[in-house]
Amino acid sequence: MASTVFKNGQVTEEEWVTVSPDEPLPAGKAIVVSFTDFLADAKRFLESSSKIGVALAPADDAKELEPYLNGLSLVAVDFPQFTDGRGFSSARVLREQLGFEGEIRATGAFILDQVSMLKRCGVDSFAPSNEVVLRGLLEGSGMEVTLYSQPSISPSEQAVKGRPWLRRETAA
């Protein structure tokens, strides 16, 4: 599947191959596989010469990926509806508790107003299903808020002097 992805301030097209479990794995590509399929045969995917990404649905428990994270390039956290906020927790668990250093991508129906929150939960690329959101990302709209009243692991934030939990966005 071709994904239009917003990453590092720009839009790129990425080619991710979706495979079903009984197909042979293509070599030297980027492969995205569902959480369930991946866990059913993790070894096979990790031995492939392709980059491997796992697509995480809201109900999937990110902690089960722990033994395999070193071999993953991408975890795509899906938002079938913007009101389902489980992906925010999954992203933080991946980054903060499991120490995942690869790319965490938000996919699906999230809205523009959630982007800064997603970043603060450790998400670093965005593949929205709604073009309006993509346009907004490019234009940098909806980014009026640059001050936060709780810490996060986002690398583009600075602590505020004398206030241990406050953060100021520096990249905006």
Binding site: P58, D61, F82, T83, D84, G85, R86, F88, S89, S90, R92, V93, E96, Q97, I111, D113, Q114, S116, M117, L118, R120, C121, G142, E144, V145, T146, L147, Y148, S149, Q150, P151, S152, V160, G162, R163, P164, W165, L166
Partner: protein, 552 residues
Amino acid sequence: MYRYDEFDQDFVEQRVEQFKNQVERRLKGELSEDEFKPLRLMNGLYLQLHAYMLRVAIPYGTLNGKQMRKLAEIARSYDRGYAHFTTRQNIQFNWPKLSDTPKILEELASVEMHAIQTSGNCIRNVTADHFAGAAEDEYADPRVYAEILRQWSSLHPEFTFLPRKFKIAITGADHDRAAVQVHDIGLQLNQNEDGERGFRVFVGGGLGRTPMIGRKLREFLPEQDLLSYCEAILRVYNLHGRRDNKYKARIKILVHESGEDTIRNEVEAEFLKVKNGFLNLPLEEIERINAYFAPPVFEDLPETESAFEAAKAESRELANFAKRNLNPHKAKGYTSLTISLKPIGGAPGDATAEQMEVIADLAERFAYDEIRVSHEQNIVFPHVELRDVPLIFKILAANGLGEANAGLISDSIACPGLDYCALANARSIPVAQEISERFASLERQHDIGDLKLKISGCINACGHHHVGHIGILGVDRKGEELYQITIGGSADENTSIGKILGRGFPADKVVDAVETLVDTYLDIRANKAEAFIDTYRRVGDAPFKEALYGSG
């Protein structure tokens, strides 16, 4: 009280700016109502039966005279000259125009106020004991921790799209004045054997369609772990709370369905991972915030004030007011004074702009410029000198604010009901008004004594009827408003859910039914000191049931 520094002010102003853009996009048609909905909800703007309703946050119910005056000004300029104080210690404006709302938010920001997180599926305004910082029985001022929780939870990146709304309450003493056991998280300050400060933690309490009493997850949580433990609870809830049915989405259902032990194990396991991370509460920060809540410097006053005693002896009205509307204060010669927003025949919790200005003036003159909104929808001056009470009472009474009914049957809680609310099945305010008129005689009310009457206009239970000593629930039966009566509920440290006594009553019979219950109590109470709820607990519901429905 807490004061904004430059950061807090900028933080709120950015939000106003953001919302202004969103409203403009909505008015231009660039945003549909569906797309606008989550954005306006984040700023406290509801679409109600007749109009938009704007709910403004009053963190843990604390505000000063300047802020109260601003709220009065908004009521006068942008609304119909009055406003409604809520059971979450907030204030609601019922008739603002959408195009005015950014201006209103700007006005609010100018006095360090906002409407953030007063709606939506996020962590709502944290509530606290309205006598905090003044009550003689508290371990510490719970507002310090409420403020820490407020900052932590404001626009939380992970917990703003929860399965459902999330309410936290905190109380400072063994006697619970913040109804913590009917909250998603209830915190009760306490001390361990070494004299260290911490919290008793309840999870999964709530009212609504499925009332539940919170389960105690911890007898003692050290204070430095407050945010880490809350984060652990919220993460377990965010990941595992039900999202398939909004009526089963509160954490109480998760706790109920999973079982107390499972939830405790999950929370504790999550807590171990979060603990000692960046949420560990540094003592310096607790002290920094504590300094904002430092009590005023109290004078060394005599325990009893002879002029006040003399005034009470002369004026029966004042004596009644003193008997009901004053709460013991930690400093000698001081008191906490309750201003009832429940005048006989009035709408519970409503205040006019003029009344709000009177309250602001009095607070500045006599009450160290401190005002509280109680979850029982009254106003409290936490620090007042006993010798000033007669004059304060005189001014209050002259402005329709002198009702000496705190904690009595006419001091009822009622939701807005069918007169305002899009969810309601039945009217609540008119029922509250009729009951208070029926029991208008103050002498009779004082004889009846402590009695908490709570009225909800639908099963969402915003009027907290489940925890009323007498609760009234309005339902719709084939187009007719019918009122179900419950009895024996309570929301203090002995929290209980009221029991339904039998079939409901039509609107014109419900007041008679309440009177029958009260008369039954008066007949069977052991003595005058035995309150309604204690009599109920002693004898059970049988005599009350029989009085209402006969012995058949």
